[in-house]
Amino acid sequence: MTEFAGSQYLIEIVYLIASALFILSLKWMSSPATARHGILAGEIGMVLAIGGTLLHHGIVDYKWIIIALVLGTGIGIPLGMVQMTAVPQRTALSHAFGALCVTLVGTAEFYLRSPNVPKFMMSVLSMEVILGGLTFTGSLMAAGKLQEILPQRPITYKGQNLVNLLLFCVAVGSSVYLVLHPEAKVFFPIIVGVSLIFGVLLVIPIGGADMPTVISLLNSYAGLSAAAMGFVINSKLLIIAGALDGSSGLILSIIMSKAMNRSFANVLFGAFGQVHASAAAGQEAKPVRSATAEEAAAILSAANKVVIVPGYGMAVAQAQHKVRELYDALTKKGVEVRFAIHPVAGRMPGHMNVLLAEADIPYDRLIEMDEINGDFPQTDVALIIGANDVTNPAARTDQSSPIFGMPILDVDKAHTVMVIKRSMSPGFAGIDNPLYYLENTLMLFGDAKQFVGAIVRELGGGH
């Protein structure tokens, strides 16, 4: 008996150290200089925690644990090796896996303890499976949309919000009943089932442009469900890890919604894309000025200061390595090149930074929106590659625009604006962009990768 108590203390001390390492891990993440120490701290914490858990006196059989750990490692390695352009869907998928783990453990715990589940335990257990269930299916839907297995357009129908609200009430109502009457086992599968359906319905009306907010929100839910599981199994380590993840996701969601000038409720219940399609229908062909790669290269090499604005289109065209060549060619000619990063450019928080870093562009050239916006009036050329809504001046001026009030990159204040775009068709969100019709705007029609490649060839040919 005393031996058991001894090993129990040892495990708790190991968990304590692991918790400290997790907090340090996130602290070191704040700057690129220390971030890799952060990973090491996290890894050590994780190995300690798992190793400590294996000493748990209740464990009688290791066979399946080992098999599952090996299998999980086998799946994890390819998931860690995906292309940088596939990182948003990989992230969504890993939220789904995390939530799956939590939901399954919660379900098993319920059936092991039922019907002797204390009221508080039952409340957190319900919270665990509701959040876990909806995060699991919601994240799978998000991953499907990002991988383009599922249609990226928002899917809406009449009474959608009412149906969602109803489902949510059923889940919460069943939980309350189960808390009061823990012997009514039949309600448990209802809670799980409804949460799974709720997750699907919550994400289908969400369009691609809103993915950064939704992924952050799902990240937060995954963390909170893990924290709830920590309450159920009485693990302070899990409560801490879950709370850290939950607050991280929440902070990112707040940053993302602010960058789109929208509330959570609006992201979740707004079905963004639908409104725009109709708003854009009224706009017909207005004159635009276009230019060839040769002309664009001449303008760029005559400039002193160039700001490149990347967007999701750059990721889709896989143009980041060509952009790097352009950066090199212009830098060699003595042109100062910087990149303007809008917080919601791309499909997840920080998406553009990762892609440009992959292409070996130094991160001190990547400038955040608030820092670079004041510099556009002194910028000779703003080159927009695959970004649309985040440069739309209608957000500042046109009160009827669906994106009115959203903070944007003030590219229209640059002396010359160049936009690489496939055609004049409105972007994903379907909003017309008045930027394209401005006096100082040149449209460069073509595929982002090919067009940037053509500019690079012209720049190289000049010398």
Binding site: A18, F22, S25, S30, P32, A35, G42, E43, M46, I50, G58, I59, V60, D61, Y62, I65, A68, G72, T73, I75, G76, P78, G80, M81, M84, V87, R90, T91, S94, G98, C101, L104, V105, A108, S216, A222, G223, A226, I233, K236, L237, L238, I240, A241, A243, L244, S247, S248, L252, I255, I341, M348, P349, G350, N353, V354, A357, P362, Y363, D364
Partner: protein, 103 residues
């Protein structure tokens, strides 16, 4: 049980505040790796699944637990791996190209 619960709530509250303070200072540059790192850390839920499987209380619980371990372990391994890959890509121009350090 009662005091355990209150302790746990205190731990949760403090950890949430620490999370806010620490993560508020993360540069937007690193938001993507931050998310994959927190995801890997969150997969510490694997400890609950390990105990569940090891205790062998019922076949049902063991089966669910095994799937849970697989899912969480893939997050741990994949999450740390990709975060490290991403961070290795972030380079500054200053040490390697000193000619770029003009103001």
């Amino acid at each position: 049980m009662g005091s355990n619960l209150i302790d746990a709530l205190f731990v949760f509250m403090l950890a949430a505040f620490i999370g806010f303070e620490v993560i508020r200072h993360v540069s937007p540059l690193l938001h993507t790796p931050l998310m994959s790192l927190t995801n890997a850390l969150d997969a510490i839920a694997v400890v609950g699944a390990i105990v569940l499987v090891g205790e062998k209380k019922s076949t049902f619980a063991t089966v669910l637990g095994v799937i849970a371990i697989v899912a969480a372990t893939s997050n741990v391994v994949g999450g740390f791996f990709i975060t490290d890959r991403m961070l290795r890509m972030f380079k500054t121009s200053r040490p390697t190209k000193p000619q770029l350090t003009k103001p």
